[in-house]
């Protein structure tokens, strides 16, 4: 089975990768593709909060592509020595669309996405990546939610 692990450079996406590793059976998984999607027309096309930013330059040299590579590097490292072959892929466009397309192309058996926020904005604003992937993916989707801040 080919598993897609999406990363948007957030800590939550790293947590999602770890979640997969915590329960899945590595002998059933042949390949893992870590996919980072760059959004060319966004203010910040890719924000890497994982690698500490030491592998690419800042300022006028800002390269969102290298930021995406650095983040997927960190997420891929989660699966080091686990079993499945790990691929890193950078795509560009709308994250949800690109993940769904990738899932079709790679004939994926599972897509792992993080559903980031726990704040008000998540409740108010519709159309997040995780939601769209759930609706349109050609395979099962694992949505890893953040832990609630406190129990109500």
């Amino acid at each position: 089975m080919h598993v897609i692990v999406a990363t948007d450079g957030s800590k939550q996406s790293l947590a999602a990768a770890k979640k997969l590793k915590s329960f899945a059976d590595p002998t059933k998984i042949t390949d893992i593709s870590v996919i980072a999607v760059i959004r060319p027309l966004a203010s910040v096309a890719f924000a890497d909060e994982l690698s500490g930013g030491s592998t690419y330059a800042a300022g006028p040299e800002t390269s969102f592509r290298r930021a995406a590579e650095a983040a997927s590097e960190v997420v891929a490292a989660v699966f080091d020595g686990w079993g499945p072959t790990v691929h890193k892929r950078i795509r560009s466009g709308s994250p949800a669309n690109e993940l769904i397309k990738a899932a079709k192309q790679l004939d994926a058996g599972l897509v792992v996405v993080a559903s980031g926020g726990r704040g008000l904005s998540d409740a108010v604003l519709v159309g997040s990546t995780a939601q769209r992937v759930q609706h349109y993916a050609p395979c099962p989707v694992l949505v890893v939610r953040p832990k609630p801040r406190q129990r109500r």
Binding site: P40, S43, E49, G59, P60, E61, T62, I90, L125
Partner: protein
């Protein structure tokens, strides 16, 4: 398994896929340039030059297209998102200069947003018989909506971008059709097209045309924002020169034809006195269609056109701050992105606040009787910043010749670059000579950047990559560039 099993594919099929095609880049350029001024500024240009004001547009767009070719050459060498600051940094390696250019670019973008937002409110008012809600309120709400749209990420749709560009072009086509119709009826007096008004402030024809170029130049700007998508463009070596320069030339052709149509159909005095000058063309009732309907349609199109261009500027500003924050020259909070939306919301709010400040100050000054035309003032401030940046980009382009070149690098025509440099400097010189007070506004905007730098310098934490010096853009990258 070990690191050796990690496969990084490096081809289009499954590895590092890029998404912006040459065609999309062309429409991005066209939309960005077309929306930025002709809807707003044509009256002022007509006032300066007279019936022959199409010449100002033709010359202005030529200078801008040459500058565009310098950008195209530099983009093919350094396909990163940063644009002018990156090129100047490569050419001069001077941190202070790079900082100044980055802040200037940010300021230009903010002033442009202010001018466009004010232009938006002018056209918005034409939808109402009684003038509608207060202009300042409309501008501020417009700004707030754009910031929200940017935060959510709707701006990222390439399709919406294309649709808006088509609408923009359609609006200008309406003006052209009216012009052709008028000419076909045999009512046109072509003598108007060669009339240069020397009775006004500018005594000689050459000076009047130069003034026209300076006033119209805001309409030529915007193409520099295409560097934003450089990194994500498929085959940038081919796509950039074609799409950037091609987009500019098409925009120039449209401008010239629209200016001619406007000059032929509407008395120049009427154009000169109007806030929404292109609307006057539609209001002449030349087409056998209800004038009321056409006026409303055209206003809506103008609003969409202005929105399209403003969106790009609103997206660009937080991106600049993001880069600067990572470099530690402004507070690190600008490098924070929202956890779900991945948008730099602090930067968005900050930029919105600065532009709102510009609008409020401008409106207060106007009401205090300073005789200020806010659209033109902010457009002029934008143009002063951008002309200086354009000139420096051309110099950087020439200075970087022979460095980082491959056989795929696009090479701009060298004699033309010199012409472009002289052109940019001439327009810059005139703009400052004509209205020295614009420098005060420029200084005010640069001061915002300096304040941010000082805040970071005295109170900031280190957010830059380890081992990097403050403000050092050339850090720690072994494999890149």
């Amino acid at each position: 398994m070990t690191q050796a099993d990690v496969v990084t594919a490096d081809d289009e099929d499954n590895g590092l896929r890029r998404s912006i095609t040459g065609k999309q880049l062309f429409f991005y350029t066209l939309g960005d340039v077309l929306g930025s001024g002709i809807y707003v500024l044509i009256g002022l240009v007509a006032a300066a030059v007279g019936g022959a004001f199409w010449i100002a547009f033709a010359l202005g767009v030529t200078v801008a297209a040459i500058t565009g070719s310098a950008y195209a050459e530099l983009v093919t060498k350094y396909p990163q998102a940063a644009g002018a600051s990156l090129y100047v940094n490569k050419a001069f390696g001077n941190k202070a200069l790079t900082f100044l250019i980055t802040v200037s670019f940010l300021s230009a973008s903010m002033a442009a947003t202010g001018s466009l937002a004010t232009g938006f409110s002018s056209y918005f008012a034409t939808l109402f018989d009684d003038g509608g809600p207060p202009a300042l309120l409309v501008s501020l709400v417009f700004l707030a909506l754009l910031a929200i749209v940017n935060f959510i990420g709707i701006t990222e749709s390439v399709v919406i971008n294309m649709v808006m560009t088509f609408v923009e072009v359609a609006g200008l086509l309406i003006v052209l059709v009216i012009g052709v119709w008028f000419v076909a009826q045999g009512k046109a007096d072509f003598g108007t097209l060669v009339e240069v008004d020397v009775s006004g402030d500018f005594g000689s024809p050459a000076l009047a045309v130069l003034a026209g170029i300076a006033f119209s130049f805001f309409a030529m700007t915007g193409f520099e924002n295409t560097a934003n998508v450089a990194e994500e463009t498929i085959d940038p070596h081919k796509a950039f020169p074609r799409s950037l320069v091609g987009g500019m030339l098409v925009a120039g052709l449209v401008y010239v034809l629209v200016s001619m149509a406007a000059a032929l159909t509407v008395p120049v005095d009427t154009l000169a006195g109007s806030d929404a000058a292109l609307l006057e063309v539609v209001k002449q009732g030349i087409l056998p269609v209800s004038t009321g309907f056409m006026t409303t349609l055209f206003s809506v199109i103008a609003l969409i056109a202005i929105t399209n261009t403003t969106l790009v500027t609103v997206v660009t500003q937080p991106r600049i701050l993001y880069g600067m924050a990572r470099e530690d020259v402004v507070p690190g909070v600008f490098a924070k992105v929202h956890s779900t939306r991945r948008s730099p919301w602090v930067g968005l709010v900050f930029c919105g606040a600065v532009v709102a400040g510009l609008l409020v100050i401008g409106t207060l000054l106007t009401e205090a009787g300073a005789g200020l035309d806010l659209v033109n003032r902010l457009a002029l401030v934008t143009v002063v910043f951008l002309l200086a940046i354009y000139a420096l980009v051309i110099v950087s382009c020439l200075k970087l010749r022979g460095r980082d070149e491959t056989e795929k690098t696009f090479r701009a025509n060298t004699p033309l670059l010199f012409v472009g440099l002289v052109g940019n400097l001439a327009i810059l010189g005139f703009s400052i000579y004509d209205d020295p007070t614009s420098l005060i506004w420029c200084a005010g905007l640069v001061a915002v950047g300096v304040v941010l730098f000082l805040l970071e310098y005295f109170f900031g934490n280190q957010t830059r990559p380890s081992g990097a010096e403050r403000g050092d853009p050339e850090v720690v990258d072994e494999k890149g560039a």
